[in-house]
Subunit: 301 residues, 2 copies
């Protein structure tokens, strides 16, 4: 599995605490989450100030850092806060730093990647990466309001080449230009992706495809410390499971969405990657079973 | 099944249209919805101006109006509007009219009701009704932010005598005095109810009990015209199914929540009770099956 995304140092404040310059970034959350299911090759950039311990952690998760360049300058930094409504992040500061001139480089051999995840970066760069990959089996991507507003033509071009789009609910409405979520989803499916996964934060996820509709709740948790990275962790579990099973049947995609939800439910329990650092696969399976209990009911005769 | 609630004339504006003085009220939506599953006895009040056609409609649904008093004065009127975010109703006008001095009267024989739903009215009146019922099997109630703020002691007294509480997500946090939904739910369960059903609008419902947790999505719809009455329609389907089956097993409660969600998903497709008026039981079963398809996934081996 190849992923291109950001590796960042985050400063986050929530009603439950505060952390400064901790490990973050879409590429980081995605890779760590996916690493519980499959091998991950990460393409990203950090500055010279990036702490070695974070690289060691990613390596300990078997994430191949052959595509992670360390360049002169400072690492991408994000500072945000959340109120009691943990669905809404308020960005206080964004310093792109070395990320501003990031040009992803694909190490030799990685162009044969079968599963590709293009995390939320400039769609021109997402296209550039994708053009380097020879016959991928599954390409998924994320994006955000900023790119939908500013770089729609490149994004539309990208969507023609993408199998699975994972975005937030409000972005579905924005991209589809339609207030009704179901109609907006149909419009987006007509733009290229065969599958659309709508991330709804504490309300879970909805999956749309031509013939199927699947709703997964988020796990109701007593301890939600920090929602940062939940979406990328979800994507990591989802894509990681698909890559591990190499099975794109509707049933397997549903299971992948649950694995994504499981991974996200762990990440939010602690700041940064703290929960991921101590997570064990047996816990993942246990929470998957809890999701089954959470949602199942008897059908009609 | 006995229900006490409001019967009203609503004026509603949504981005999709506008209606004036149409049939509404918690008692109306609940009764109509429950009537697809069981016999309903309605306790409520209307003014002399209340159109006879609405009474005919309720009778056509086999709702017993023996507890509906027509008194001098005007019927309760509510005027509200919704923006594209159909989760938020903006109340423009509330005229209690004859509802202001409503004192529910329980017709002879109805005091033996086994299933009782106390819709969202002053908790003193809810208590008064409940005191008249001899050995009910299941008592459920709704309430709202207004009563939680202004009449907390009466509400707390009521909750000691209630089996099932159905309220909105924000009201769970307010009543429990806790921002985390799961913790707030535990606090409320300690106040009396054995089961708490949290209504989350377009995100579905969550059910909490001492030993179980169940999440049901709302059905993703292409046409949502008017969310007015969705919560009471949900409650009607939920309680109606429980009363029809007289089975309070965890499995049956889950099915009841799905039937509630099914009924709510129909109501919002049209203004007022318009969808309910033409709804057939075969459609209810069909949508129940769609909920099953919407949520099911394979467990782990």
């Amino acid at each position: 599995m190849l992923v291109v995304g950001s590796v960042a140092l985050d400063s986050v404040e929530t009603p439950f605490g505060k952390v400064e310059e901790v490990l973050g970034g879409s590429g980081t959350y995605f890779s760590t989450s996916a690493s519980f299911f499959t091998d991950v090759n990460l393409v990203a950039v950090v500055g010279e100030d990036f702490p070695e311990e974070h690289l060691s952690f990613l390596r300990s998760r078997n994430v191949d850092l052959g595509g992670l360049r360390k360049v002169p300058g400072q690492t991408f930094r994000w500072k945000g806060e959340y109120g009691y409504d943990l669905n809404d992040a308020h960005t206080l500061e964004t310093h792109l730093n070395v990320f501003e001139n990031f040009r992803p480089e694909i190490p030799v051999g990685w162009e044969k990647s079968k599963f590709v995840f293009l995390a939320n970066i400039d769609p021109h760069l997402q296209l550039e990466v994708l053009d380097r990959i020879v016959e991928p089996e599954v390409v998924a991507c994320d994006t955000m309001n900023f790119w939908i507003e500013r770089e729609r033509p490149a994004l539309v071009e990208l969507l023609k080449k993408v199998d699975i789009l994972l975005i937030n609910e409000s972005e579905v409405r924005q991209l589809g230009g339609e207030a009704n979520l179901v109609k907006a989803a149909r419009i987006i499916l007509d733009m290229g992706p065969k599958t659309l996964v709508v991330k709804r934060g504490e309300y879970g996820a909805l999956m749309f495809s031509e013939h199927a509709l699947f709703a997964a709740p988020a796990y109701p948790l007593e301890e939600v410390f920090d929602p940062t990275g939940a979406g990328d962790t979800f994507a990591g579990g989802f894509m990681g499971y698909l890559a591990a099973t190499r099975n794109l049947s509707p049933e397997n995609i549903r299971q992948a969405i649950i694995f994504g939800s499981v991974m996200a439910s762990f990440t939010v329990e602690r700041f940064s990657l703290e929960r991921m650092k101590v997570l064990e696969y047996v816990e993942i399976k246990e929470r998957f079973r809890k999701f089954k209990l959470l949602t199942e009911f008897q059908g009609l005769d």
